[in-house]
């Protein structure tokens, strides 16, 4: 409990200090009286206050100023109000090692084609335009953003998100996305710079308006932060009234905290699960969590040349299995007979010149692989002790090729028979985990399902995704995974059977119950 409280304390301090309290300058949002924006802006700029963005639609300016400038602003006429701008950040937890294609099947994305006509707007760190596994012809972006060109991505987060939505299929390389035929329309709005640090709520408000103006049906936001913000909520409610479906990451603090924009009613909050449908430990639990999607060690596109982990593969008797490279293992290929090492809590017996097959649990992954090597093993497969696949970190480096497998695949391997394990370098792809990775699964699926029912509203699609989700965890709605795992074909079937008949008002988030 002490550690938990310490972690909570650190998170609270970070959240509370985020609005630049301790910095030399503060980020603020100023709302001016209608028609007085130019006059107010002129006065503020004359006083040396930086205007980061004009948000005419909301009669507001995003500002940066010192404490002294803030105090002196009191005598400026035409101001309705001023409040703190709040930071928003990308919601990935880092690389772990797992594979995206399991997420495609897990969400039934491979059971429905894309019928065209819908557009997803991705608000993120940009897009590696020209990536061989990402669409180009139907991709547009917002020019002139302060974070950098929309068609570049120094961080890699936005390109990873885009790959989950739209990576190309049938080209014989890389991965496939939820919509893999290259026809999905994308609009990119970049709010994170190459360093991938904070954006602000005011930036997000402007980005949401940009998405709506670009004709987006779905806005995908793999980002979030503490503290609700008035201008952000106004932008979101306006977009909802304009018929846009907004989807955002629930947050990665692993706590019962609201994260915004996900916890606004007009936004679907997305939790992350692993390949076995288990709630990811980092995924925040709240009453606004509405649906779940794969978000643990998700393989997708990254800017060309920046992939680090490599991609794992296991094959035996002509069958191939999805596998995840263990972080710290060696890139390479090994073909040898398999040796059963149990949980490998001591040096594996009879493993000389063989590939160790090890069950997860008991001791660290690093110790398991070390015990394989101590027994003479030349490669290691660690398979799960529960349904689904997982990613692992050795905590050190190893000379062995080491990968993980699902429990089902691990138990299907034949001991004594020859198998091949490989970790191949793939510089244009990598694994990431987070509710950031779960979010684009839902965004892509929403666009795919909607493409078959263009007469439906955003609320129709949202309610269909809720109603057709595969229940996870506690029976019925729960705070960890919402209504359950998003299901593409089931959502299609739901709308085909029930039609589009939802109300036009802004829905309640999460379970949808009235407060």
């Amino acid at each position: 409990m002490k550690l938990q409280n310490t972690l909570l304390a650190a998170a609270i301090t970070a959240a509370m200090s985020a609005p630049a309290l301790a910095a030399d300058t503060m980020r603020m949002v100023l709302e001016y009286k209608p028609g007085q924006g130019d006059a107010v802006k002129t006065v503020l700029e004359g006083r040396g206050i930086t205007v980061h963005r004009e948000l005419e639609r909301f009669d507001s300016l995003a500002l940066e100023m010192t404490k002294e400038q803030f105090v002196a602003m009191k005598d400026v006429s035409g101001i309705v109000g001023v409040y703190a701008d709040t930071p928003r950040e990308m919601l990935e937890t880092g690389t772990m090692g797992e594979i995206s294609p399991f997420g495609i099947a897990q969400t039934q994305a491979d059971q429905l084609n894309y019928a065209g006509g819908t557009k997803v707007c991705i608000i993120d760190s940009g897009y590696d335009y020209g990536h061989p596994d990402l669409p180009a012809s139907a991709v547009t972006g917002e020019e002139g953003g302060l974070a950098g060109p929309w068609n570049q991505d120094g961080s890699g987060h936005g390109t990873h998100v885009a790959g989950t939505i739209a990576a190309l299929g049938g080209n014989g390389e890389g991965v496939v996305g939820v919509n893999d035929d290259g026809n999905i329309q994308l609009h990119i709005v970049r709010v994170f710079n190459d360093e991938g640090g904070f954006a602000y709520a005011s930036s997000l408000a402007g980005a949401i308006s940009d998405c709506a103006d670009a004709g987006a049906n779905v806005i995908s936001m793999s980002l979030g932060g503490a503290l609700e913000n008035p201008i952000e909520e106004r932008a979101i409610n306006q977009a909802a009234r304009d018929g846009v479906l907004m989807i955002a990451a629930a947050g990665n603090d692993g706590l019962a905290w609201h994260s915004y924009p996900a916890s606004y009613d007009a936004v679907m909050s997305v939790a992350a699960v692993d390949g076995g449908g288990n709630h990811a430990s980092f995924s925040q639990r709240t009453a606004q969590v509405e649906i779940a999607a794969p978000g643990v060690s998700t393989l997708s596109t990254v800017p060309r040349g920046t992939g680090e982990t490599g991609v794992g593969a296991v094959s035996q008797n002509g069958a191939s299995f999805e596998s995840i490279p263990m972080v710290g293992g060696t890139i390479g290929t090994v073909t040898a007979p398999l040796a059963n090492c149990g949980i490998a809590d001591s040096a594996c017996e009879d493993a000389t010149g063989k590939i160790c097959v090890i069950e997860r649990g008991g001791i660290s992954f690093g110790d398991k692989v070390a015990n394989c090597e101590a027994g003479g093993g030349i490669g290691a497969i660690v398979y799960n002790n529960a349904p689904g696949i997982f990613g692992g970190d050795l905590g050190t480096t190893s000379d062995l090729v080491a990968v993980s497998l699902s429990q089902e695949d691990g138990e299907a391997l034949e001991m004594g028979m020859e198998a091949t394990i490989a970790i191949e370098p793939m510089a244009d792809y990598d694994y990431k985990s987070g509710t950031s990775m779960a979010t684009p699964h839902v965004s892509g699926i929403a666009a795919k399902v909607w493409s078959h029912f263009p007469q439906c509203s955003a609320n129709d699609i949202r309610l269909a995704l809720r109603a057709s989700a595969a229940d996870l965890g506690e029976p019925g709605y729960d705070y960890s995974t919402g209504w359950g795992l998003v299901q593409t074909k089931a959502a299609f079937d739901y709308l085909a059977a029930n039609g589009c008949k939802s109300p036009n008002s802004i829905l309640r988030g999460g379970e949808g119950r009235a407060r």
Partner: protein
């Protein structure tokens, strides 16, 4: 003349965040309002007042309710009344006296008013007592009607029936940090020459 409210709070904030270390300084805080529930669908409600002034004993109270906090809602939620046992405006770069009571808890950063409290649960389903820490940030809402500035608050409970409760959010009501009477008197003396 005294500073207008906004200027007073901004001045306190400026002093607090211009210093180093993170030590409690004299000051007063009061306010209340609603903020988001800890993960729940409803709102948390709080009122508070606390002061560390002029070498007098620290005093104040905190009342807090979060009936929809998702880990307690099935037991009637979080609800307590508390007495303030330590308080002060956290500032950096102050020469530390070595008095542990003046060191700010790591949960409260510079510019935040820290309140350490001992509570009694007011939820009969979860009786008991415990301790916790709240941090308040004054963004100047209140007297200055032309500004719509929210305060912010965080609260975390260390012991007792609500141990591990932790929440933070924008406060829809008000947070007012104020100087102690002696500081105001000193300022008046200076201004009167």
């Amino acid at each position: 003349m005294g500073l207008p409210y906004l200027k007073t709070s901004a001045a306190l904030l400026a002093i607090a965040i211009s210093a180093t270390g993170c030590v409690k300084m004299d000051g007063k805080v009061n306010g209340g309002g609603t903020m988001n529930s800890m993960g729940g669908a409803g709102k948390a409600v709080m009122t508070f007042n606390a002061e560390r002034c002029d070498e007098q004993p620290v005093k104040g109270q905190v009342n807090f309710q979060d009936k929809t906090a998702i880990d307690w809602e099935n037991d009637g939620g979080v609800s307590f009344r508390a007495n303030v046992v330590q308080a002060g405006l956290c500032g950096e770069d102050i020469e530390f006296s070595g008095d542990a009571a003046l060191a700010c808890d790591q949960r409260c950063g510079p510019g935040e008013f820290e309140v350490t409290f001992e509570y009694d649960s007011t939820n009969p389903q979860l009786p008991g007592e415990g301790t916790g820490v709240a941090c308040m940030v004054d963004w100047g809402e209140g007297v200055n009607a032309s500004y719509r500035i929210n305060g912010m608050a965080s609260i975390s409970v260390d012991t007792g029936p609500y141990s591990s409760y932790a929440n933070r959010g924008a406060l829809s009501g008000n947070v007012q940090t104020m100087e102690c009477p002696s500081a105001k008197n000193n300022k008046n003396d200076e201004e009167n020459g």
